[in-house]
């Protein structure tokens, strides 16, 4: 995987964003929440690395403080989706029978609603805290993970090493965790990377609609939404968060594609 130059660039970019966002308070002298009338709509430079927004706030500080929330929500939602999706997928693929039918039908039903519409509905009625957003985005991604895991389990469970363990008297739990799980992790990791891109898309979309964590919390989507009204005065406060949203999603998508290629060389030729 690391032999792929694209993947290395993506990982380096994502690590850079995470590192800067973790140490942002040491990297800029300005408080990201501090409103100042004298410094409105400053272009990049002039004491502010990326300029200032309509309230004279430091965009550099805000965009990387926002990265924590956006990436944090995305990461934990995918952890949630991964845990539930893998459990359901492995269970359905291993036990088959009723559990399999139940999980498959459940997936069919969730796929009847456009995900963003469900997310809007849930968030607007239950409240739009970071925890709610994480749960909604995560749960809406469960079907995809479960489906991919399930179809891999169907092939893995027929492999000889599983049969060998079974004939030596391994319990079902041992078969699932020791024999099957390590063999389905590869497609699950691909889904995780693609899912991160999806989660950033959802989170920023919801915050753009004003349905993300409420201010003073900073998210990329809300930054874009609020500064978009002043685009004719200065487009920099819209440009930076938009660019980071796009590049982050792009990085996760390329990473996912490259992981998939490295795991399935047959697809590479296509």
């Amino acid at each position: 995987m690391l032999k792929d130059r694209r993947a290395r660039i993506c990982i380096a970019f994502l690590l850079l964003v995470v590192t800067v966002s973790l140490f942002i308070s040491y990297l800029t002298p300005h408080n990201p929440q501090k409103v100042s009338g004298d410094s409105r709509f400053l272009p990049p430079g002039q004491g502010y690395l990326l300029g200032t927004d309509e309230f004279g706030r430091d965009v550099f500080g805000r965009v990387f403080t926002g990265a924590r929330l956006t990436l944090g929500i995305s990461f934990f939602s995918m952890v949630l989706a991964g845990i539930i999706g893998i459990t359901l997928g492995v269970g359905a693929g291993f036990y088959r029978g009723i559990l399999e039918k139940l999980v498959m039908r459940l997936i069919d039903i969730t796929l009847c609603f456009p995900p963003i519409v469900v997310a809007i509905f849930v968030v607007s009625f239950f409240g739009s805290s970071a925890v709610h957003l994480t749960c909604v985005i995560g749960l809406l991604y469960v079907p995809r993970v479960a489906r991919v895991v399930y179809s891999s389990v169907l092939t893995v469970r027929e492999m000889q090493h599983v049969e060998a363990s079974k004939s030596m008297g391994a319990s079902n739990l041992r078969l699932m965790t020791v024999n099957i799980l390590p063999n389905i992790l590869a497609p699950a990791v691909v889904q995780f990377s693609l899912g991160m891109g999806h989660a950033v898309l959802m989170e920023s979309g919801l915050s753009f609609l004003g349905l993300g964590p409420a201010p003073p919390a900073i998210t990329w989507g809300r930054m874009v939404q609020q500064s978009a009204r002043f685009m004719d005065i200065s487009y920099f406060p819209v440009l930076w968060p938009s660019m980071l949203i796009c590049l982050t999603i792009l990085a996760f998508n390329i990473l996912g594609d490259s992981l998939r290629d490295s795991m399935d060389p047959r697809l590479k030729s296509l």
């Binding site: 609603f113 519409v117 809007i120 239950f126 979309g205």
Partner: protein, 317 residues
């Protein structure tokens, strides 16, 4: 064949029923008294009389099963109740709003098909040239740029910088056809990008797969021109999986247009949803959720049936 259609139709009906049930009970799944939630929650502190009146209005005093049966019966006849805000029946408003959203979805879909499929075929047949990686990178960009970022970029470039197209708003076609086209172009273009990228990528990989198949080699070796083989054989076979992807994408557009409508102030079904959620106009919210899901199920049903009609392998299974 007949049995496949009947079974598929039954499954769709069951799905619609499940969705309707979920939509109905969603009000009751909310924490606390639904009447209180509709009135703005405990913080709004409505008077006990107001809560009692709202309970009466929403029919919450009846047993839940009676409420459920009543709602399903009415919904099946197309009666989705009245708005809590202005007492207007929900149905006609939904029809009007859905029409406006379709005015974006249909041009966006046509554009994605008309541009996406030729681009995909071109990329597949020019694999060793510089154009294929360029098109593939553009497709990746199409996936990765969120619609609202794309929308804002368009608003800035065409609306504020070049000043050639209106940045937002809506003009009914009947009042002013040219004005309608002008306001429609940007939102439809924005909406179509994600689908265009998906259709292109899918076309490229499907055509490539078909071109590597044995029957293509046979057709070529018996002397058929490459173009004939490409269009009459490979592309026709590739169109099957492509049509499934298109149907899925059209379904997803019903959700995706929510952001486009928000960027361009387009008064379609999704901006109606957001507005009604903010007003806690529950019958309207239920109606929209039901309508969007039914459209979603319907499109998938049509796609599956079309697939079965075209591909004997599916219906024999």
């Amino acid at each position: 064949m007949k049995w496949y259609f009947i079974r598929r139709l039954l499954v769709s009906f069951v799905l619609v029923w499940i969705v309707a049930t979920l939509v109905f009970f969603s009000l009751h799944l909310l924490p606390g008294d639904p009447a209180l939630v509709v009135l703005g929650g405990a913080e709004a502190n409505p008077s006990p009389e107001a809560v009692a009146a709202m309970r009466e209005k929403l029919g919450l005093n009846e047993p839940i099963f009676t409420q459920y049966l009543g709602w399903v019966k009415k919904a099946a006849r197309g009666d989705l109740g009245k708005s809590l805000i202005n007492e207007r029946p929900v149905g006609p408003d939904l029809r009007l709003r859905l029409g406006r959203t379709l005015q974006l979805i249909i041009p966006a879909t046509v554009l994605a098909i008309v541009v996406g499929i030729p681009m995909g075929v071109f990329a597949a047949t020019h694999r060793n040239s510089i154009i294929d990686p360029i098109l593939s990178s553009l497709a990746l960009l199409g996936f990765s740029v969120p619609v609202f970022v794309m929308g804002i970029l368009f608003v800035w470039f065409f609306g504020l910088y070049l000043k050639v197209l209106p940045a937002s708003g809506y003009i009914p076609f009947r009042d002013n056809p040219v004005g309608f086209l002008k306001v429609m172009i940007l939102p439809a273009l924005t909406l179509s990008f994600g689908m265009l990228a998906t259709v292109m990528r899918m076309t490229r990989s499907c055509v490539l797969e078909q071109l590597g198949a044995d029957y293509v080699r046979t057709a070529r070796s018996k002397g058929l021109a490459f173009k004939t083989v490409l269009y009459k054989h490979a592309l026709r076979n590739a169109l099957l999986p492509i049509s499934t992807v298109i149907a899925l994408q059209v379904g997803l557009m019903f959700g995706g247009s929510v952001l486009v409508e928000s960027v361009y102030n387009w008064p379609g079904i999704n901006s109606f949803l957001i507005m009604s959620i903010n007003l806690r106009d529950y019958p309207v919210v239920q109606g929209i959720l039901l309508l969007i899901s039914v459209m979603f199920i319907g499109i998938n049903l049509i796609a599956d049936m079309g697939y079965a009609l075209l591909d004997p392998k599916v219906r024999l299974n």
